[in-house]
């Protein structure tokens, strides 16, 4: 890379943070929906939440927290010159993303086989509060799942840039920003897990 290329690290990171703020407000809107309907249908939210399996939610919490650790360490590894360790950790993160989605697949499949999915006849026979709970649940975790897939693709692209030397120990801001996006995915789940899976177990 030529030394004359202007690099604004602060600007690049700040731009990423501004984008993340819009993401926080996007999911914030969904959490507000949850809060408003929780205050309207507290009993139905508890009985609907009890139908979610804590093992799926808890397992995916462990997977995401660990993947966040991998990404955080990968940045330090790259800056210390341990490129191989960095790539291994990013590969591990993508594996965690895959594990998360496989979990989600089995979780949703079980729900679908019980006839619980948006617009299903069985769901529409439930009390209104439970219908709302499951609809918000599918929108929130579905949108979050899309973020997991996008995050994994961004990290895979970053790995290619590291392998080609475009991202390296002296020029790492792309990895930093990709990492910020991945941590956001983890942050959203930190709130999804207790609100949906643990609401009075």
């Amino acid at each position: 890379m030529s030394g004359h290329v202007h690099k604004d690290y602060i600007g690049a990171k700040f731009g990423m943070w501004l984008f993340l703020f819009t993401e926080v407000l996007l999911f914030g809107g969904l959490f507000i929906l949850y809060a408003v309907y929780l205050s309207r249908y507290p009993q139905e939210f508890i009985s609907a939440g009890a139908q979610l399996d804590v093992r799926f939610g808890g397992g995916n919490t462990l997977v995401l927290l660990t993947s966040s650790l991998f990404v955080a360490i990968s940045i330090t590894a790259l800056r210390r010159g341990s490129t191989k360790l960095c790539l291994g950790l990013l590969g591990g993160t993508i594996a965690c993303a895959a594990l998360f989605m496989i979990n989600k697949f089995f979780e949703w499949s079980a729900k679908f086989s019980h006839g619980i999915y948006p617009g299903s006849e069985h769901l529409l026979e439930m009390p209104p509060g439970e219908i709302v709970f499951f609809n918000i649940y599918y929108v929130t975790t579905g949108l979050h799942g899309i973020h997991v897939i996008i995050g994994a693709l961004i990290l895979a692209w970053t790995m290619v840039l590291i392998m080609t030397g475009r991202v390296n120990a002296n020029d790492w801001v792309i990895l930093e920003n990709a990492g910020l996006y991945w941590h956001l995915v983890d942050l959203i789940w930190i709130f999804v897990f207790p609100l949906y899976y643990l609401i009075l177990h």
């Binding site: 703020f21 650790l69 177990h201």
Partner: protein, 94 residues
């Protein structure tokens, strides 16, 4: 290439934060087994806020960023709080 080299966070710090996050997750699950009435949701939200604080401060390096980043985060969260607060002023006192 970049003049202002940000702080390099040691591996150990990240691992300690990760262990902390796992412990807090365990506490959330344990507390949810007891019926504390309306307190359950506040305990869950309190622990989730603590966990996200750890992730933002250490994993996302906010602790090592300049005041500009911290103030912008504060304003984004304030906007979210206003968003939530005014919605509930409407919903609860309609």
């Amino acid at each position: 290439m970049s003049e202002e080299h940000a702080h390099i966070v040691p591996y150990k710090t990240f691992v300690i934060v990760w262990i902390g996050l796992l412990i807090l997750t365990g506490i959330t699950i344990a507390v949810a087994q007891y019926d504390l009435g309306a307190m359950n949701i506040w305990v869950a939200l309190g622990i989730a806020t603590l966990k996200s604080g750890l992730v933002i401060a250490i994993f996302m390096h906010m602790k090592y960023e300049s005041i500009l980043f911290k103030l912008s985060l504060l304003s984004a969260l304030s906007i979210l709080a206003i968003f939530i607060g005014f919605t509930f002023l409407d919903v609860l006192y309609r």
